[in-house]
């Protein structure tokens, strides 16, 4: 299931327009968080993914093309063994295309549990669209003073039904997020490690996700070279995967 591990196409990114916050309601804070992730509606971004299992690590380089909030196409660039593979994500459905085959393969939600695909779901999280936010107080996280937001999924189909989000009081940048499933079990810790300038705006440039259930597993994703790009509809049609 190595390829599935590559799934980390995770990026996806759905953009949302930044707003200027005046009051500090949970949902408004959430919107600010989302604005740091990707404000563009049609874009391309480079992603480096390093997957750690205890001390060992593997690195993948990808280019992600996204449109709107629900469509993204991941092109694998490195290592050479994955070059030419594509991952297409539409809403909740996912397909992988391998060069030399005639058709893309559908990936079931179950297969996404495994490997890096699950991290993809985490990194892809569109907070303001999928969750209702409630300000639950203040706390310290990673040495910073934060607002603590309790997020509840709006729809039962959302991957993680509850998220605890720590947002910096100083600049509303996300610091840490804990992801919970329906049963209440904590599955992932996400740390928003680095912020930088991309396409003229401040954005999250590195995120680290730790597996709360399986010891020693963490993934670091680095984003760079975000740029707006006009993308043809065909690109997000599974029947054309690999044909252009």
């Amino acid at each position: 299931m190595k390829r599935i591990q590559l799934l980390t196409a995770i990026l996806f990114v759905l953009g949302s327009t930044p707003t200027s916050a005046s009051a500090l309601t949970g949902s408004e804070i959430l919107k600010k968080v989302d604005s740091l992730r990707n404000p563009l509606s049609s874009f391309q971004i480079d992603v480096d993914l390093i997957s750690y299992r205890n001390e060992a690590s593997e690195t993948w380089k990808m280019r992600v093309f996204g449109q709107g909030t629900e469509k993204s196409l991941v092109e694998f660039v490195d290592p050479a063994s994955q070059k030419g593979q594509y991952l297409l994500m539409l809403n909740d459905a996912m397909w992988i295309y391998l060069p030399g085959t005639s058709r893309p393969i559908r990936i079931s939600p179950l297969q996404r549990l495994m490997g890096e695909a699950s991290n993809g779901d985490v990194a892809r999280t569109n907070y303001s669209i999928d969750y209702d936010a409630e300000l639950a107080g203040e706390a310290e996280a990673e040495g910073q003073s934060c607002y603590r937001l309790e997020l509840t999924a709006k729809d039962p189909g959302v991957s993680y039904s509850r998220v605890m989000l720590w947002v910096s009081k100083k600049n509303y940048e996300p610091i840490k997020a804990d992801f919970y499933v329906v049963s209440g079990k904590l599955m992932k810790h996400a740390y928003f490690r680095e912020f930088g300038m991309m396409n003229g705006n401040r954005a999250i440039t590195a995120i680290e996700i730790q597996d709360a259930v399986r010891a020693g597993r963490r993934t670091v994703m680095r984003y760079s070279k975000l740029q707006p790009k006009e993308l043809p509809e065909k690109m997000f049609n599974k029947n054309y995967l690999g044909k252009w």
Binding site: D92, A93, R106, S108, P109, L110, L113, M114, S118, D121, A153, D155, P156, G157, V158, S159, Y160, S161, V181, V182, S183, K185, M187, V213, R214, A215, G216
Partner: protein
Amino acid sequence: MLTRIAFRNVFRNRRRSTITMLVLIFGATALILFGGYKEISFYGLRESTIRNRVGHLQIYKKGYLDSESQKPLEFGLENVRELRRAVESDPRVEMTVPQVSLMGLVTNGEKSETFLATGVESEKDQKMSAQRLVAGESISDQENDGVIVGELLARSMAVKPGDFLTLMSTTVNGSLNGMDVRVRGTFATGVKEFDERAIKMPLAGAQQLLQTTKIEKLLVLLKKTDDTDSVKRDLESRFSQNHWGLEMRDWSALATYYHQVKNIFNGIFGFLGIVVFLIVIVSVANTIIMSIFERTREIGTLMAIGTRRRQIWAMFFLEGLLIGVLGGILGIAFGSAVGELINQAHIQLPPPPGYTTGYQLRIMLKPSILVTVMVLSSVTATLASVLPAFKASRLKIVDALGHI
């Protein structure tokens, strides 16, 4: 008189008759023993397939059998309680067993494997007892998150009864879910591929993991397997009357392994029958031909003093028939006796490939097998005598009389 002559001629040459009879007896015995063995195997396999695995009938929501849904339980059964009550109202039904199956990842914190879980009510599972508990105790409705695990999976996860595992899966809505479970025991089914992946858990626990009240299917167990067809018909008419949108399968449609085994065994039995048939034909034909040869002068005399050709033919034909019938009767008697002896001897056989337990060798003396053997014996012997008898009837009197 002709019958009398034919009958007495059967015993005329003691040694030859004995050998011919022995051939028939051995052939009959071989068929009876193998046939009886296959019948008992079918019966055993059928009942164990039904009572331990698939049930007599399975009820699904309409569309389940053809579906290829990405979401679990998209075609799940709802209104389960009402359905069960309706089905159990038939006195021929022994019990109904609701089942849910799901797949996911199981992890002990270090390592993860895929698992295949079945959610069942613990008491029903006890009654079906498809697995042999190797350690610990079985699931209980008192502990929704207490599971039993295939022994090879337990070994892979390095767990023993009392340890904990985490099950991860997707809910019916497509979101992720995870559940910590306690290993109550480990089991072995004897099938390696199954023991490497299987988990059994309380139905309520599985439903919780899936976030649903639906079930995947309802198994129906009857008191007598012979009732299957009539109960199925009754249920079908009741379902369509009430427009419940359900579909059903009977055990026969689900027991593919059973049918494969049955076909193989029946094929071998058929082959054995052909072999016996050929041996008997050759043996009886040889006996009759030798009789005719030795009695040529006798045949000439009979024809000289007025016996017609067709009567000569009938005489030898009857002799063949009598050999067949007598051989059949003796064969059945001997074969049945040997079969009974084997049953009384309680011989234990080693486990078949892929299984871990052996079983007792038993022969089922089914009337249909005995009848088949009787018919085969009679028909074969008769056929064997047809041509030689015809040849005998065409002898020229003068040549026959001059024969040594």
